[in-house]
C-alpha cells in the first residue's frame, strides 16, 4: 500500500513535473510569442491585401471597363460596315473588296 501510494505519488509527481518542465521552459514561451506574432502579421497582411485589392478593383472599374465596352462597340460597328460593303459589292456585281482595301477605305473615311 505504501509502495502503491508512493508509486501513485511519484507518478503524479512525475507527470506534473514533466508538464511543469515543458510549460515553464524557454521553448514554450518562445513558441507562444512566435505564434502570436505570426497571427498578427497574417492579420495585417490580409488587411492590406484587402485594401490593395479594393483600390485596384475600383480603379480598374473606373478606368478600364468603359474602355473595353467602347472598343467592343467600335469593333462591332466596323464589322457591320465591312458586311455592308461586302453586300454592296456583291449586289453591284463586282468582286467584294479585299479586307485590307476595306480597312484602307474605312480609314480614309474616318481620317
Amino acid at each position: 500500500m505504501a509502495g502503491g501510494s508512493s508509486n501513485s505519488k511519484s507518478n503524479s509527481g512525475l507527470l506534473s513535473r514533466i508538464s511543469n518542465s515543458i510549460s515553464g521552459s524557454g521553448i514554450m514561451f518562445h513558441g507562444k510569442r512566435a505564434a502570436s506574432d505570426a497571427a498578427y502579421v497574417t492579420k495585417k497582411l490580409l488587411q492590406s491585401t484587402g485594401k490593395a485589392a479594393w483600390i485596384a478593383g475600383t480603379t480598374f472599374v473606373i478606368l478600364v471597363v468603359p474602355l473595353i465596352i467602347e472598343m467592343d462597340r467600335e469593333q462591332q460597328l466596323n464589322d457591320l460596315d465591312l458586311q455592308q460593303k461586302n453586300k454592296q459589292a456583291t449586289l453591284l456585281g463586282t468582286t467584294p473588296p479585299s479586307r485590307s482595301q476595306l480597312i484602307h477605305c474605312s480609314g480614309e473615311q474616318l481620317g
Binding site: 480603379t59 473606373i62 478606368l63 468603359p66 467602347e70 462597340r73 474616318l110
Partner: protein
C-alpha cells in the same frame, strides 16, 4: 459588259522620303497663344468633371444666334479648413445667349443664384483681337472683369491683360524653329501686391507635344502628349511647386471614337477619374463623369444629357 471585272487597283507606291528642307527662319509658323500652351495636355487630363445631374439644351434661332438652357442639381463642395470635404446640395438653372460671327463673338450666361458671366471676343483688325470677360455676383467684392488685347505677328504673338483690382499682365511667345516656340510672361497684381515672371517652351511635332513652364510663383509644370494614332492619344503631366514642396504627376488617355469620347486619368495623389461623352443620336449626347479619391475617400459621380449642336 456583265462579265467584265475591273482589275484591282495597284497597291499605292510608298511615299518618297521628304527631302531635308532647309529651314527658312523668316517663314516660321505662328505659335500657339501663350495661355494655351498646355492645351493638348489639359484637354486630355482635365475634363470637366462634375457631380450630380446636368442637363444642357442649346437651340439655334438663327445661323449666328443661339439660346441655351441648363439645369444642374447636385452637391457642391465648399472649401473648408479641415481635411474633411463639406458638400452642400445645390440646384440651379442657367440661361444663356450666344452670338457668333466671324469677327465678333458674344456670350452671356445668367444663373438663378444671381451670377452673370459675359464674354466678348472681337477682331478689331486682322491681327489685333480684343477679348473681355466679366463675372458679376450679388456678393460684394466678388465680381471681377478682365480685358485682353492680343496682337498676332508673323511668327510671334503678344498679349496685354488688364483686370480689375489693378491686375496687369503681358506675355510674348515666338516661334524659334518650325517645331519649337519659346515665350515669357509677367504679371502684377496690385490688390495682393504680388508680381511674377514666367517662361514657357513648347516643342510640337505631328505626333507629340512637349511643353515646359516655370513661374516665379514657384510652379514648374511639364507635360508630354503623344498621339499614338488618329483615335488615341496619351498624356502625362508633372507639376512641382518649389515653394510649397507639392508634387503631382498624372497620366491619362484620350480615345476619340466615332460614337464617343472617353478620357481617363490617374494621379499621384491617389485620384482616378474618367469622363465619357457618348453620342446617342444626332445632337444628343450622354455624359458620364466619375472621380474617385482614394486618399480622402471622396467619390464623385455625375451623369448628364446635352441636347443640341
Amino acid at each position: 459588259m456583265a462579265g467584265f471585272v475591273p482589275p484591282p487597283p495597284p497597291p499605292a507606291p510608298p511615299a518618297p522620303p521628304k527631302p531635308d528642307e532647309k529651314v527658312d527662319y523668316f517663314d516660321l509658323p505662328c505659335p500657339i497663344p501663350y495661355e494655351e500652351i498646355h492645351r493638348e495636355a489639359l484637354m486630355s487630363l482635365k475634363p470637366e468633371l462634375f457631380e450630380g445631374m446636368r442637363f444642357d439644351f442649346t437651340k439655334g434661332l438663327n445661323q449666328k444666334f443661339s439660346l441655351s438652357h441648363s439645369v444642374f442639381m447636385g452637391p457642391t463642395e465648399i472649401p473648408s479648413q479641415s481635411s474633411e470635404t463639406i458638400k452642400i446640395p445645390t440646384a440651379h438653372y442657367e440661361f444663356g445667349a450666344n452670338f457668333i460671327d466671324p469677327k465678333l463673338m458674344l456670350f452671356g450666361r445668367i444663373l438663378t443664384d444671381g451670377r452673370l458671366n459675359a464674354r466678348v471676343k472681337c477682331d478689331l483688325t486682322e491681327n489685333l483681337t480684343l477679348k473681355a470677360n466679366a463675372q458679376l455676383t450679388s456678393e460684394p467684392h466678388m465680381s471681377h472683369g478682365m480685358v485682353n488685347f492680343d496682337y498676332k505677328g508673323g511668327d510671334y504673338r503678344t498679349q496685354l491683360q488688364l483686370g480689375n483690382g489693378a491686375l496687369f499682365g503681358a506675355s510674348y511667345i515666338q516661334s524659334v524653329t518650325p517645331y519649337l516656340s519659346l515665350g515669357g510672361e509677367v504679371f502684377w497684381a496690385g490688390q495682393h501686391r504680388k508680381s511674377g515672371i514666367g517662361y514657357a517652351a513648347r516643342y510640337n511635332t505631328d505626333k507629340m507635344v512637349a511643353t515646359g513652364q516655370v513661374a516665379s510663383t514657384g510652379m514648374v509644370a511639364l507635360s508630354y502628349v503623344q498621339k499614338v494614332s488618329e483615335k488615341v492619344s496619351l498624356a502625362s503631366d508633372f507639376m512641382y511647386n518649389y515653394m510649397s514642396r507639392d508634387v503631382t504627376a498624372s497620366f491619362g488617355y484620350d480615345y476619340i471614337l466615332r460614337q464617343c469620347r472617353l478620357r481617363g486619368k490617374i494621379d499621384s495623389n491617389g485620384c482616378t477619374a474618367a469622363f465619357l461623352e457618348e453620342r446617342l443620336n444626332m445632337g444628343l449626347n450622354f455624359i458620364l463623369s466619375a472621380e474617385i479619391d482614394h486618399r480622402k475617400k471622396d467619390y464623385k459621380f455625375g451623369f448628364g444629357l446635352t441636347v443640341g449642336e
